[in-house]
């Protein structure tokens, strides 16, 4: 049973966390599962409730991890010059060249956090607006506005890479 749940939910959970915290997504996902397993025996609800609970826990673990990083910031031992930083192609170009999951996640990471969370919870987790509003502690209207703004921002990012066009008109 647990394997079924894990196979079903863990990819979406990992992707969601990779948008929020690309560096610590795997760790937060593991902590999320630990937290969920402790309360799994007492959980009651349908599939939507299960997914809402899982992603709510994941978001809380993400907030805990972010809080921990703020209290204990990680500083590199050696400064790396900007010339030595490995460069990658533009995220939008990557998304167009290879619409892969990693590229899409990297593209969504450029969005504001709330907009990215809303889009991921809506698209990846499959939750509706009301549930997302409950998870994020806001209203359904704000969730809808954030989703639209995020999609517009995403479209702008893709367009900025010369990918998109407006009815055939190149910007």
């Amino acid at each position: 049973m647990f394997a079924v749940l894990w196979r079903d939910a863990n990819p979406a959970l990992t992707r969601y966390l990779r948008v929020l915290a690309p560096e610590a997504a795997e760790d937060i996902a593991a902590e999320t599962w630990v937290s969920v397993l402790r309360g799994l025996v007492t959980f009651t609800g349908d599939e939507t409730s299960w997914r809402a609970w899982l992603f709510t826990t994941a978001r809380r673990r993400f907030l805990d991890q972010a809080r921990h990083l703020r209290r204990h910031p990680v500083e590199p031992l050696d400064d790396i010059g900007s010339a030595q930083v490995p460069t990658a192609p533009d995220a939008a170009q990557l998304a167009m060249d290879n619409i892969a999951t990693d590229s899409a996640i990297a593209l969504l990471s450029k969005l504001p956090e709330q907009q990215a969370q809303v889009i991921m919870l809506r698209v990846v987790a499959g939750l509706d607006t009301d549930v997302i509003a409950e998870i994020l502690g806001t209203t359904a209207g704000n969730v809808r506005v954030a989703a639209h703004r995020g999609l517009r921002k995403l479209e702008t990012l893709l367009s900025a890479g010369g990918v998109s066009s407006r009815a055939g008109v190149t910007l």
Partner: protein, 340 residues
């Protein structure tokens, strides 16, 4: 024609080029979010492709840690360790230090010590052994108070307790006479005739509340009542008098009541028995008799001394008590307590 010579319907301003207006609407965005991308504008095709990539099937890499997750699941369910290191991944060597994940305080596995209520929230004296201890302490204090009051009222400790702490001979006699089990083991309880066992006495009509030593027999009461006043204080004597008054059915019946029990004593040593305290009995009031004679441990001054009992103080019954033994042995009321 207008004033510029251009017809009004030649360049209608209601028609805008496609790039001027919004290329998509909110309903298109909602369709993107819901996955219904059938009629979305072309401009949103890249976005639709990006979202489709997010919904793609899980890759092999994303499912590679299933074994570790299962191991963690088993460990957590069995409550052995809070988190199992991902040994199945093959990346953990003996030199690798595995630290548990930073779990929040609310997510830690609670130990029994953690489950206890904080000290400042515990109820004082509520339940558990704390309540039992307080009850036991109160009971002990109450029992001690009762003992002190009893000693104050009676003027001495009853029975063997009185002998131990106060050296009162009559108390020892009363205790030994009432309990046949300890009768042979006590010294100086020179009872010349068999005394009824405690069972017989307790089966009688005398209520348990009559005396503090309910196991004692009427014979003992009568002997103690006729004990020389120099050996007992008036408080104890008054208590005995009240007890015998209840047993005999009245104060004026005490003499006849005790006479039945003590007739053998009078028969064997008629002149040596102490005076009846409130007069009218042979010897008369104030007759102290030989109350000044040392009588260590004996219930009375007669009996063993005059009979030359070879086992002084053992309380052995009749065979060696001399001439009064027959009367004592045949005393009917020692075995059957009179019903009053």
């Amino acid at each position: 024609m207008s004033e510029n010579g251009v017809p009004n319907d030649d360049m209608p301003d209601s028609q805008q080029p496609p790039s001027w207006g919004p290329a998509y609407h909110d309903r298109d965005l909602d369709a993107l979010l819901s996955g219904d991308a059938g009629n979305i504008p072309v401009v949103l095709r890249p976005v639709e492709s990006t979202l489709a990539a997010l919904r793609a099937a899980p890759s092999r890499r994303e499912l590679s840690e299933e074994a570790a997750a299962r191991a963690a699941f088993r460990a957590i369910v069995q409550r052995r360790v809070p988190w199992a290191p991902p040994a199945e991944q093959g990346i953990v060597t003996a030199d690798t230090l595995i630290l548990p994940p930073a779990i929040g305080p609310a997510e830690r596995l609670l130990t029994p010590a953690d489950r206890r209520t904080p000290r400042h929230r515990r109820r004082r004296g509520g339940g558990g052994w704390g309540g039992h201890r307080s009850v036991i302490a109160l009971t002990s204090v109450a029992a001690a108070a009762v003992i002190v009051i009893a000693v104050a009222v009676t003027g001495g400790l009853p029975g063997s307790v009185g002998q131990t702490f106060g050296g009162h001979p009559t108390g020892a006699a009363a205790s030994s006479a009432g309990t046949g089990r300890t009768q042979n083991s006590l010294e100086g309880t020179g009872v010349s005739h068999p005394t009824p066992p405690a069972a017989v006495s307790s089966a009688g009509s005398a209520p348990a509340s009559v005396s503090p030593s309910a196991a004692t027999s009427p014979t003992t009461f009568c002997r103690e009542l006729f004990e020389p006043l120099g050996r007992q204080n008036r408080t104890m004597w008054g208590a005995l008098l009240r007890q015998l008054t209840q047993l005999a059915g009245g104060r004026d019946k005490i003499r006849s009541y005790c006479f039945r029990y003590l007739s053998s004593d009078f028969a064997q040593a008629p002149g040596s028995y102490p005076a009846f305290p409130f007069g009218g009995y042979p010897g008369g009031p104030g007759d102290r008799g030989n109350n000044g004679a040392p009588n260590p441990g004996s219930g009375h001054s007669g009996g063993n001394q005059s009979a030359g009992d070879p086992h002084p103080g053992t309380g052995e019954p009749a065979p060696s008590t001399g001439p009064g033994a027959s009367a004592a042995d045949t005393h009917p009321s020692t075995d059957t307590h009179p019903q009053y």
